[in-house]
Protein backbone atom coordinates (compact mmCIF):
# COMPACT_ATOMS: atom_id res chain seq x y z
CA UNK A 1 0.00 0.00 0.00
CA UNK A 2 2.85 2.33 0.90
CA UNK A 3 4.36 1.77 -2.53
CA UNK A 4 1.09 2.60 -4.23
CA UNK A 5 0.70 5.79 -2.24
CA UNK A 6 4.28 6.69 -3.10
CA UNK A 7 3.43 6.17 -6.78
CA UNK A 8 0.42 8.52 -6.45
CA UNK A 9 2.65 11.09 -4.80
CA UNK A 10 5.20 10.85 -7.62
CA UNK A 11 2.43 11.38 -10.19
CA UNK A 12 1.15 14.38 -8.18
CA UNK A 13 4.63 15.87 -7.91
CA UNK A 14 5.29 15.46 -11.63
CA UNK A 15 1.91 16.91 -12.50
CA UNK A 16 2.59 19.94 -10.29
CA UNK A 17 6.08 20.48 -11.72
CA UNK A 18 4.78 20.21 -15.26
CA UNK A 19 2.14 22.85 -14.53
CA UNK A 20 4.60 25.25 -12.95
CA UNK A 21 6.97 24.89 -15.90
CA UNK A 22 4.11 25.33 -18.36
CA UNK A 23 4.24 28.63 -20.24
CA UNK A 24 0.52 29.08 -19.69
CA UNK A 25 1.13 29.25 -15.99
CA UNK A 26 3.57 32.12 -16.45
CA UNK A 27 1.12 33.85 -18.77
CA UNK A 28 -1.63 33.60 -16.21
CA UNK A 29 0.64 34.95 -13.49
CA UNK A 30 1.56 37.95 -15.65
CA UNK A 31 -2.09 38.45 -16.57
CA UNK A 32 -3.17 38.33 -12.95
CA UNK A 33 -0.52 40.82 -11.92
CA UNK A 34 -1.42 43.23 -14.73
CA UNK A 35 -5.13 42.94 -14.08
CA UNK A 36 -4.72 43.42 -10.35
CA UNK A 37 -2.69 46.51 -11.10
CA UNK A 38 -5.53 47.70 -13.34
CA UNK A 39 -7.83 47.38 -10.36
CA UNK A 40 -5.95 50.28 -8.81
CA UNK A 41 -7.65 52.49 -11.39
CA UNK A 42 -11.05 51.20 -10.32
CA UNK A 43 -10.03 51.81 -6.73
CA UNK A 44 -9.19 55.42 -7.44
CA UNK A 45 -12.67 55.93 -8.88
CA UNK A 46 -14.21 54.64 -5.66
CA UNK A 47 -12.37 57.31 -3.59
CA UNK A 48 -13.07 56.44 0.07
CA UNK A 49 -14.13 52.90 -0.84
CA UNK A 50 -10.84 52.15 -2.59
CA UNK A 51 -9.83 49.47 -0.10
CA UNK A 52 -13.10 47.58 -0.54
CA UNK A 53 -13.03 47.84 -4.33
CA UNK A 54 -9.39 46.77 -4.52
CA UNK A 55 -10.07 43.82 -2.23
CA UNK A 56 -13.18 42.65 -4.07
CA UNK A 57 -11.72 43.12 -7.53
CA UNK A 58 -8.51 41.30 -6.66
CA UNK A 59 -10.28 38.34 -5.04
CA UNK A 60 -12.72 37.91 -7.92
CA UNK A 61 -9.97 38.18 -10.48
CA UNK A 62 -7.75 35.68 -8.69
CA UNK A 63 -10.57 33.17 -8.62
CA UNK A 64 -11.38 33.61 -12.30
CA UNK A 65 -7.72 33.35 -13.31
CA UNK A 66 -7.21 30.23 -11.24
CA UNK A 67 -10.48 28.83 -12.62
CA UNK A 68 -9.35 29.40 -16.21
CA UNK A 69 -6.06 27.62 -15.57
CA UNK A 70 -7.57 24.81 -13.50
CA UNK A 71 -10.18 24.04 -16.17
CA UNK A 72 -7.65 24.27 -18.99
CA UNK A 73 -5.32 21.97 -17.10
CA UNK A 74 -8.01 19.45 -16.07
CA UNK A 75 -9.56 19.28 -19.52
CA UNK A 76 -6.31 18.77 -21.39
CA UNK A 77 -3.96 16.86 -19.11
CA UNK A 78 -5.45 13.38 -19.56
CA UNK A 79 -6.06 13.88 -23.29
CA UNK A 80 -2.50 15.11 -23.77
CA UNK A 81 -1.01 12.16 -21.91
CA UNK A 82 -3.04 9.78 -24.05
CA UNK A 83 -2.03 11.58 -27.28
CA UNK A 84 1.68 11.69 -26.39
CA UNK A 85 1.49 8.06 -25.20
CA UNK A 86 2.97 9.07 -21.83
CA UNK A 87 0.08 7.29 -20.15
CA UNK A 88 1.25 3.96 -21.67
CA UNK A 89 4.62 4.37 -19.98
CA UNK A 90 2.94 5.03 -16.65
CA UNK A 91 0.58 2.06 -16.90
CA UNK A 92 3.37 -0.25 -18.05
CA UNK A 93 4.73 0.13 -14.51
CA UNK A 94 2.97 -1.12 -11.38
CA UNK A 95 0.86 2.00 -11.04
CA UNK A 96 -2.84 1.31 -10.53
CA UNK A 97 -5.35 3.61 -12.19
CA UNK A 98 -6.72 4.94 -8.91
CA UNK A 99 -3.21 6.00 -7.88
CA UNK A 100 -2.60 7.64 -11.26
CA UNK A 101 -5.90 9.56 -11.17
CA UNK A 102 -5.53 10.61 -7.55
CA UNK A 103 -1.96 11.74 -8.31
CA UNK A 104 -3.12 13.79 -11.30
CA UNK A 105 -5.98 15.32 -9.31
CA UNK A 106 -3.73 16.08 -6.34
CA UNK A 107 -1.19 17.69 -8.68
CA UNK A 108 -3.91 19.86 -10.25
CA UNK A 109 -5.23 20.91 -6.84
CA UNK A 110 -1.72 21.67 -5.61
CA UNK A 111 -1.17 23.84 -8.68
CA UNK A 112 -4.43 25.70 -7.99
CA UNK A 113 -3.46 26.25 -4.37
CA UNK A 114 -0.02 27.46 -5.45
CA UNK A 115 -1.56 29.86 -8.00
CA UNK A 116 -3.97 31.28 -5.42
CA UNK A 117 -1.13 31.67 -2.91
CA UNK A 118 1.12 33.50 -5.41
CA UNK A 119 -1.68 35.76 -6.63
CA UNK A 120 -2.84 36.35 -3.04
CA UNK A 121 0.66 37.44 -2.11
CA UNK A 122 0.76 39.81 -5.12
CA UNK A 123 -2.67 41.17 -4.24
CA UNK A 124 -1.76 41.79 -0.59
CA UNK A 125 1.48 43.45 -1.67
CA UNK A 126 -0.56 45.73 -3.93
CA UNK A 127 -2.94 46.57 -1.10
CA UNK A 128 -0.03 47.28 1.21
CA UNK A 129 1.49 49.53 -1.45
CA UNK A 130 -1.75 51.51 -1.55
CA UNK A 131 -1.68 51.85 2.23
CA UNK A 132 -4.31 49.24 3.15
CA UNK A 133 -4.21 46.25 5.44
CA UNK A 134 -5.44 42.72 4.89
CA UNK A 135 -9.20 42.77 4.13
CA UNK A 136 -11.47 41.15 6.70
CA UNK A 137 -12.01 37.46 6.06
CA UNK A 138 -9.30 37.32 3.39
CA UNK A 139 -8.07 33.85 4.32
CA UNK A 140 -11.65 32.55 4.34
CA UNK A 141 -12.27 34.06 0.91
CA UNK A 142 -9.19 32.32 -0.49
CA UNK A 143 -10.11 29.05 1.22
CA UNK A 144 -13.62 29.26 -0.25
CA UNK A 145 -12.21 29.95 -3.72
CA UNK A 146 -9.93 26.95 -3.40
CA UNK A 147 -12.81 24.70 -2.37
CA UNK A 148 -14.90 25.82 -5.34
CA UNK A 149 -11.94 25.25 -7.63
CA UNK A 150 -11.30 21.82 -6.11
CA UNK A 151 -14.88 20.73 -6.83
CA UNK A 152 -14.92 22.07 -10.38
CA UNK A 153 -11.45 20.67 -11.17
CA UNK A 154 -12.41 17.17 -10.06
CA UNK A 155 -15.65 17.47 -12.03
CA UNK A 156 -13.67 18.56 -15.12
CA UNK A 157 -11.45 15.46 -14.73
CA UNK A 158 -14.60 13.35 -14.83
CA UNK A 159 -16.01 15.18 -17.87
CA UNK A 160 -12.66 15.02 -19.68
CA UNK A 161 -12.86 11.22 -19.59
CA UNK A 162 -16.06 11.04 -21.64
CA UNK A 163 -16.08 14.27 -23.64
CA UNK A 164 -14.74 14.36 -27.18
CA UNK A 165 -12.54 17.43 -26.82
CA UNK A 166 -10.99 19.78 -24.29
CA UNK A 167 -13.33 22.54 -25.47
CA UNK A 168 -16.46 20.55 -24.64
CA UNK A 169 -15.03 19.81 -21.18
CA UNK A 170 -14.43 23.52 -20.68
CA UNK A 171 -17.97 24.36 -21.77
CA UNK A 172 -19.66 21.71 -19.61
CA UNK A 173 -17.58 22.66 -16.57
CA UNK A 174 -18.23 26.35 -17.23
CA UNK A 175 -21.96 25.70 -17.28
CA UNK A 176 -21.75 23.82 -13.97
CA UNK A 177 -19.71 26.67 -12.47
CA UNK A 178 -22.37 29.20 -13.46
CA UNK A 179 -25.28 26.99 -12.40
CA UNK A 180 -23.56 26.30 -9.07
CA UNK A 181 -23.64 30.02 -8.25
CA UNK A 182 -27.33 30.21 -9.12
CA UNK A 183 -28.47 27.54 -6.63
CA UNK A 184 -30.04 30.01 -4.21
CA UNK A 185 -32.01 31.57 -7.06
CA UNK A 186 -32.91 28.13 -8.46
CA UNK A 187 -34.16 27.08 -5.05
CA UNK A 188 -36.24 30.25 -4.76
CA UNK A 189 -37.80 29.60 -8.17
CA UNK A 190 -38.42 25.93 -7.32
CA UNK A 191 -40.20 26.90 -4.10
CA UNK A 192 -42.32 29.49 -5.89
CA UNK A 193 -43.04 27.42 -8.98
CA UNK A 194 -45.24 24.41 -9.62
CA UNK A 195 -45.61 21.55 -12.09
CA UNK A 196 -42.90 20.03 -14.22
CA UNK A 197 -40.73 23.15 -14.13
CA UNK A 198 -40.52 23.08 -10.34
CA UNK A 199 -39.67 19.35 -10.39
CA UNK A 200 -36.89 19.98 -12.92
CA UNK A 201 -35.53 22.81 -10.78
CA UNK A 202 -35.62 20.63 -7.65
CA UNK A 203 -33.74 17.91 -9.51
CA UNK A 204 -31.17 20.49 -10.60
CA UNK A 205 -30.63 21.51 -6.98
CA UNK A 206 -29.72 17.89 -6.12
CA UNK A 207 -27.38 17.52 -9.07
CA UNK A 208 -25.53 20.83 -9.04
CA UNK A 209 -23.04 21.65 -6.29
CA UNK A 210 -23.85 24.85 -4.41
CA UNK A 211 -20.85 27.10 -5.00
CA UNK A 212 -22.47 29.94 -3.08
CA UNK A 213 -21.80 27.92 0.06
CA UNK A 214 -18.05 28.44 -0.47
CA UNK A 215 -18.40 32.02 -1.64
CA UNK A 216 -16.93 33.64 1.46
CA UNK A 217 -15.63 36.58 -0.53
CA UNK A 218 -19.20 37.75 -1.14
CA UNK A 219 -20.09 37.62 2.55
CA UNK A 220 -19.41 40.44 4.96
CA UNK A 221 -17.97 40.57 8.47
CA UNK A 222 -18.47 37.58 10.70
CA UNK A 223 -20.37 35.79 7.92
CA UNK A 224 -17.05 35.41 6.07
CA UNK A 225 -16.13 32.23 7.94
CA UNK A 226 -17.01 28.99 6.19
CA UNK A 227 -19.18 26.56 8.16
CA UNK A 228 -17.94 22.97 8.76
CA UNK A 229 -20.69 21.76 6.42
CA UNK A 230 -18.93 23.55 3.56
CA UNK A 231 -15.73 21.56 4.11
CA UNK A 232 -17.68 18.34 4.35
CA UNK A 233 -19.61 19.06 1.17
CA UNK A 234 -16.44 19.97 -0.73
CA UNK A 235 -14.80 16.70 0.33
CA UNK A 236 -17.74 14.54 -0.70
CA UNK A 237 -18.22 16.33 -4.03
CA UNK A 238 -14.54 15.98 -4.88
CA UNK A 239 -14.69 12.32 -3.83
CA UNK A 240 -17.84 11.75 -5.90
CA UNK A 241 -16.30 13.27 -9.04
CA UNK A 242 -13.13 11.26 -8.41
CA UNK A 243 -15.02 7.96 -8.11
CA UNK A 244 -17.03 8.75 -11.23
CA UNK A 245 -13.84 9.62 -13.14
CA UNK A 246 -12.19 6.44 -11.88
CA UNK A 247 -15.17 4.42 -13.08
CA UNK A 248 -14.62 5.83 -16.57
CA UNK A 249 -10.84 5.45 -16.44
CA UNK A 250 -11.20 1.79 -15.47
CA UNK A 251 -13.27 1.24 -18.63
CA UNK A 252 -10.65 2.81 -20.91
CA UNK A 253 -8.17 0.59 -22.66
CA UNK A 254 -4.62 1.80 -22.98
Amino acid sequence: MKKLLAAALVVAENSFRESVRNKFFTLFAVFAFTAIYASVLAGVMAVDQEARVLGDFGLALMELTALAYALFNASSVLLKEAETKTIYLVFSRPVPRWAYLSGKLAGALLTTAFMLAVMGFMHLALLKLRGFGIPQGYAWALTGSFMKLAVITSFAFFVALFSTSAVSTLVISGVLWTAGHFIAETRFLAEKGSGLGAVALKAAIWLIPNFQLFNARDAAGAACSLPPVAFLSAVVWVAAAYFAALGLLERKEF
Binding site: V47, A60, E185, D218, L232, A241
Partner: protein, 244 residues
Amino acid sequence: MLRILLCAAALAAWAAGTEVLYGSYRSSFPPPSEIRVPAQGAAGDMFALAFGARRLFADVWFIRLMQYFGTPELDKVKEAAAHEESPEPGHHHHHHSIEGGKYAEFQARALHVLEIDPGFTMAALYGAGSLAFNLGKPREAQAVLEYALKYSPKNWKYLNMLAALGYYKNAEAPQAVADALAPILKDPDCPVMLKQQAAFLNKKIGNYSAAAAIYADIAATSRDIAYVRNAELQLARLTEKAGQ
Protein backbone atom coordinates in the same frame (compact mmCIF):
# COMPACT_ATOMS: atom_id res chain seq x y z
CA MET B 1 -18.43 -5.18 -10.62
CA LEU B 2 -15.79 -2.61 -9.64
CA ARG B 3 -17.22 -0.11 -12.12
CA ILE B 4 -20.73 -0.51 -10.70
CA LEU B 5 -19.36 -0.06 -7.20
CA LEU B 6 -17.48 3.08 -8.23
CA CYS B 7 -20.54 4.55 -9.91
CA ALA B 8 -22.68 3.78 -6.86
CA ALA B 9 -20.05 5.31 -4.57
CA ALA B 10 -19.90 8.41 -6.78
CA LEU B 11 -23.66 8.85 -6.78
CA ALA B 12 -23.93 8.23 -3.06
CA ALA B 13 -21.18 10.74 -2.31
CA TRP B 14 -22.68 13.37 -4.61
CA ALA B 15 -26.13 12.97 -3.05
CA ALA B 16 -24.59 13.06 0.44
CA GLY B 17 -22.88 16.35 -0.42
CA THR B 18 -26.18 17.88 -1.46
CA GLU B 19 -28.11 16.34 1.43
CA VAL B 20 -25.60 17.58 4.01
CA LEU B 21 -26.03 21.19 3.04
CA TYR B 22 -29.55 21.32 1.60
CA GLY B 23 -31.21 21.93 4.94
CA SER B 24 -28.45 24.03 6.40
CA TYR B 25 -27.94 26.56 3.61
CA ARG B 26 -30.02 29.70 3.36
CA SER B 27 -28.94 32.52 1.11
CA SER B 28 -28.36 35.82 2.89
CA PHE B 29 -29.00 37.73 -0.32
CA PRO B 30 -32.27 39.14 -1.64
CA PRO B 31 -34.19 36.78 -3.94
CA PRO B 32 -34.13 37.55 -7.68
CA SER B 33 -37.68 38.91 -7.53
CA GLU B 34 -36.39 41.83 -5.46
CA ILE B 35 -33.74 42.88 -7.93
CA ARG B 36 -34.99 45.86 -9.92
CA VAL B 37 -32.40 46.69 -12.54
CA PRO B 38 -31.97 50.30 -13.62
CA ALA B 39 -31.29 50.90 -17.32
CA GLN B 40 -28.36 49.06 -18.94
CA GLY B 41 -27.54 46.97 -15.91
CA ALA B 42 -29.01 43.54 -16.56
CA ALA B 43 -25.84 42.04 -18.07
CA GLY B 44 -23.78 43.19 -15.10
CA ASP B 45 -26.27 41.69 -12.68
CA MET B 46 -26.20 38.37 -14.55
CA PHE B 47 -22.41 38.29 -14.17
CA ALA B 48 -22.74 39.21 -10.50
CA LEU B 49 -24.94 36.17 -9.89
CA ALA B 50 -23.30 33.76 -12.34
CA PHE B 51 -19.77 34.28 -11.03
CA GLY B 52 -20.67 34.78 -7.39
CA ALA B 53 -19.33 38.31 -7.54
CA ARG B 54 -22.09 40.29 -5.85
CA ARG B 55 -19.73 42.42 -3.80
CA LEU B 56 -17.68 43.37 -6.84
CA PHE B 57 -20.72 44.34 -8.90
CA ALA B 58 -22.22 46.21 -5.93
CA ASP B 59 -18.96 48.19 -5.91
CA VAL B 60 -19.42 48.93 -9.61
CA TRP B 61 -23.01 50.08 -9.01
CA PHE B 62 -21.85 52.23 -6.12
CA ILE B 63 -19.22 53.91 -8.31
CA ARG B 64 -21.94 54.48 -10.92
CA LEU B 65 -24.16 55.99 -8.22
CA MET B 66 -21.42 58.42 -7.21
CA GLN B 67 -20.75 59.29 -10.84
CA TYR B 68 -24.48 59.83 -11.42
CA PHE B 69 -24.67 62.12 -8.40
CA GLY B 70 -21.49 63.88 -9.45
CA THR B 71 -22.79 64.61 -12.93
CA PRO B 72 -24.66 67.92 -13.15
CA GLU B 73 -28.21 67.75 -14.45
CA LEU B 74 -28.48 69.87 -17.58
CA ASP B 75 -31.27 72.16 -16.44
CA LYS B 76 -29.62 72.63 -13.07
CA VAL B 77 -26.30 73.64 -14.63
CA LYS B 78 -27.99 76.61 -16.24
CA GLU B 79 -29.75 77.39 -12.96
CA ALA B 80 -26.56 77.12 -10.95
CA ALA B 81 -24.75 79.54 -13.25
CA ALA B 82 -27.30 82.18 -12.32
CA HIS B 83 -26.90 81.65 -8.58
CA GLU B 84 -24.28 82.69 -6.10
CA GLU B 85 -21.93 80.04 -4.86
CA SER B 86 -22.78 78.89 -1.33
CA PRO B 87 -19.94 78.91 1.25
CA GLU B 88 -20.21 75.14 1.64
CA PRO B 89 -21.86 73.97 -1.52
CA GLY B 90 -24.51 71.41 -0.83
CA HIS B 91 -22.38 70.11 2.04
CA HIS B 92 -20.93 67.91 -0.69
CA HIS B 93 -18.19 69.62 -2.56
CA HIS B 94 -17.85 67.85 -5.88
CA HIS B 95 -21.51 67.23 -6.52
CA HIS B 96 -22.75 69.99 -8.75
CA SER B 97 -25.99 71.88 -8.15
CA ILE B 98 -27.27 69.40 -5.61
CA GLU B 99 -29.70 71.78 -3.94
CA GLY B 100 -32.99 71.26 -5.69
CA GLY B 101 -31.44 68.82 -8.19
CA LYS B 102 -33.87 66.11 -9.16
CA TYR B 103 -31.66 63.06 -9.60
CA ALA B 104 -34.81 61.06 -10.17
CA GLU B 105 -32.94 57.74 -10.42
CA PHE B 106 -30.90 58.24 -7.26
CA GLN B 107 -33.10 56.21 -4.93
CA ALA B 108 -33.50 53.35 -7.42
CA ARG B 109 -29.75 53.25 -7.97
CA ALA B 110 -29.00 53.39 -4.23
CA LEU B 111 -31.48 50.57 -3.62
CA HIS B 112 -29.99 48.54 -6.43
CA VAL B 113 -26.56 48.55 -4.76
CA LEU B 114 -28.24 47.01 -1.72
CA GLU B 115 -30.26 44.54 -3.78
CA ILE B 116 -26.98 43.17 -5.09
CA ASP B 117 -25.11 43.35 -1.77
CA PRO B 118 -27.33 44.09 1.23
CA GLY B 119 -24.26 44.05 3.48
CA PHE B 120 -22.84 47.20 1.91
CA THR B 121 -23.45 49.42 4.95
CA MET B 122 -21.53 52.39 3.65
CA ALA B 123 -23.61 52.49 0.46
CA ALA B 124 -26.85 52.46 2.48
CA LEU B 125 -25.65 55.32 4.68
CA TYR B 126 -24.37 57.27 1.68
CA GLY B 127 -27.60 56.75 -0.26
CA ALA B 128 -29.85 57.67 2.65
CA GLY B 129 -27.68 60.62 3.69
CA SER B 130 -27.54 62.07 0.19
CA LEU B 131 -31.27 61.63 -0.35
CA ALA B 132 -32.17 63.25 2.95
CA PHE B 133 -29.61 65.97 3.48
CA ASN B 134 -28.53 66.86 -0.06
CA LEU B 135 -31.60 66.16 -2.15
CA GLY B 136 -34.22 66.93 0.46
CA LYS B 137 -36.00 63.59 0.04
CA PRO B 138 -36.14 62.17 3.58
CA ARG B 139 -38.96 59.74 2.75
CA GLU B 140 -36.93 58.14 -0.03
CA ALA B 141 -33.96 58.04 2.35
CA GLN B 142 -36.09 56.25 4.91
CA ALA B 143 -37.14 53.68 2.31
CA VAL B 144 -33.46 52.96 1.54
CA LEU B 145 -32.70 52.46 5.23
CA GLU B 146 -35.75 50.28 5.76
CA TYR B 147 -34.64 48.03 2.90
CA ALA B 148 -31.13 47.83 4.38
CA LEU B 149 -32.58 47.01 7.80
CA LYS B 150 -34.56 44.14 6.31
CA TYR B 151 -31.28 42.28 5.70
CA SER B 152 -29.35 43.69 8.69
CA PRO B 153 -32.03 44.19 11.36
CA LYS B 154 -29.48 44.64 14.14
CA ASN B 155 -27.39 47.30 12.43
CA TRP B 156 -27.34 50.18 14.93
CA LYS B 157 -25.93 52.58 12.31
CA TYR B 158 -29.14 52.31 10.30
CA LEU B 159 -31.22 52.83 13.42
CA ASN B 160 -29.26 55.94 14.38
CA MET B 161 -29.55 57.24 10.86
CA LEU B 162 -33.31 56.64 10.94
CA ALA B 163 -33.50 58.61 14.18
CA ALA B 164 -31.53 61.46 12.59
CA LEU B 165 -33.92 61.40 9.64
CA GLY B 166 -36.89 61.54 12.01
CA TYR B 167 -35.57 64.68 13.70
CA TYR B 168 -34.62 66.21 10.35
CA LYS B 169 -38.01 65.50 8.81
CA ASN B 170 -40.26 66.53 11.66
CA ALA B 171 -38.64 69.25 13.69
CA GLU B 172 -35.62 70.34 11.66
CA ALA B 173 -33.77 70.29 14.98
CA PRO B 174 -30.07 70.36 14.02
CA GLN B 175 -28.89 69.53 17.54
CA ALA B 176 -30.94 66.32 17.65
CA VAL B 177 -29.83 65.33 14.15
CA ALA B 178 -26.17 65.95 15.03
CA ASP B 179 -26.51 63.93 18.24
CA ALA B 180 -28.07 61.00 16.37
CA LEU B 181 -25.32 61.05 13.77
CA ALA B 182 -22.46 61.38 16.30
CA PRO B 183 -21.93 57.64 17.06
CA ILE B 184 -21.86 56.73 13.35
CA LEU B 185 -19.05 59.19 12.63
CA LYS B 186 -16.45 57.05 14.39
CA ASP B 187 -17.33 53.95 12.38
CA PRO B 188 -15.24 52.92 9.35
CA ASP B 189 -18.49 52.51 7.36
CA CYS B 190 -19.39 56.18 7.77
CA PRO B 191 -19.34 57.98 4.42
CA VAL B 192 -17.39 61.24 4.41
CA MET B 193 -20.51 63.02 3.13
CA LEU B 194 -22.24 62.21 6.42
CA LYS B 195 -19.26 63.44 8.42
CA GLN B 196 -19.37 66.71 6.54
CA GLN B 197 -23.11 67.00 7.18
CA ALA B 198 -22.54 66.44 10.90
CA ALA B 199 -19.75 69.02 10.97
CA PHE B 200 -21.97 71.51 9.18
CA LEU B 201 -24.83 70.94 11.66
CA ASN B 202 -22.49 71.35 14.63
CA LYS B 203 -21.19 74.58 13.15
CA LYS B 204 -24.75 75.79 12.60
CA ILE B 205 -25.71 75.27 16.24
CA GLY B 206 -22.53 76.90 17.48
CA ASN B 207 -20.79 73.74 18.62
CA TYR B 208 -17.51 74.76 17.00
CA SER B 209 -15.22 72.37 18.87
CA ALA B 210 -17.24 69.36 17.71
CA ALA B 211 -17.31 70.71 14.15
CA ALA B 212 -13.54 71.25 14.22
CA ALA B 213 -12.97 67.70 15.48
CA ILE B 214 -15.03 66.27 12.61
CA TYR B 215 -13.30 68.43 10.00
CA ALA B 216 -9.92 67.36 11.42
CA ASP B 217 -11.00 63.73 11.10
CA ILE B 218 -12.08 64.28 7.47
CA ALA B 219 -8.77 65.98 6.65
CA ALA B 220 -6.82 63.13 8.24
CA THR B 221 -8.72 60.11 6.95
CA SER B 222 -10.51 60.89 3.67
CA ARG B 223 -8.99 60.14 0.28
CA ASP B 224 -11.40 62.50 -1.46
CA ILE B 225 -9.39 65.61 -2.20
CA ALA B 226 -12.47 67.84 -2.50
CA TYR B 227 -13.61 66.91 1.00
CA VAL B 228 -10.11 67.18 2.44
CA ARG B 229 -9.61 70.68 0.97
CA ASN B 230 -12.98 71.83 2.25
CA ALA B 231 -12.25 70.38 5.70
CA GLU B 232 -8.90 72.19 5.82
CA LEU B 233 -10.58 75.42 4.77
CA GLN B 234 -13.29 75.06 7.40
CA LEU B 235 -10.70 74.20 10.04
CA ALA B 236 -8.74 77.35 9.18
CA ARG B 237 -11.93 79.44 9.44
CA LEU B 238 -12.87 77.89 12.77
CA THR B 239 -9.36 78.47 14.14
CA GLU B 240 -9.55 82.07 12.96
CA LYS B 241 -12.93 82.45 14.67
CA ALA B 242 -11.57 80.98 17.89
CA GLY B 243 -8.64 83.40 17.84
CA GLN B 244 -10.90 86.46 17.56
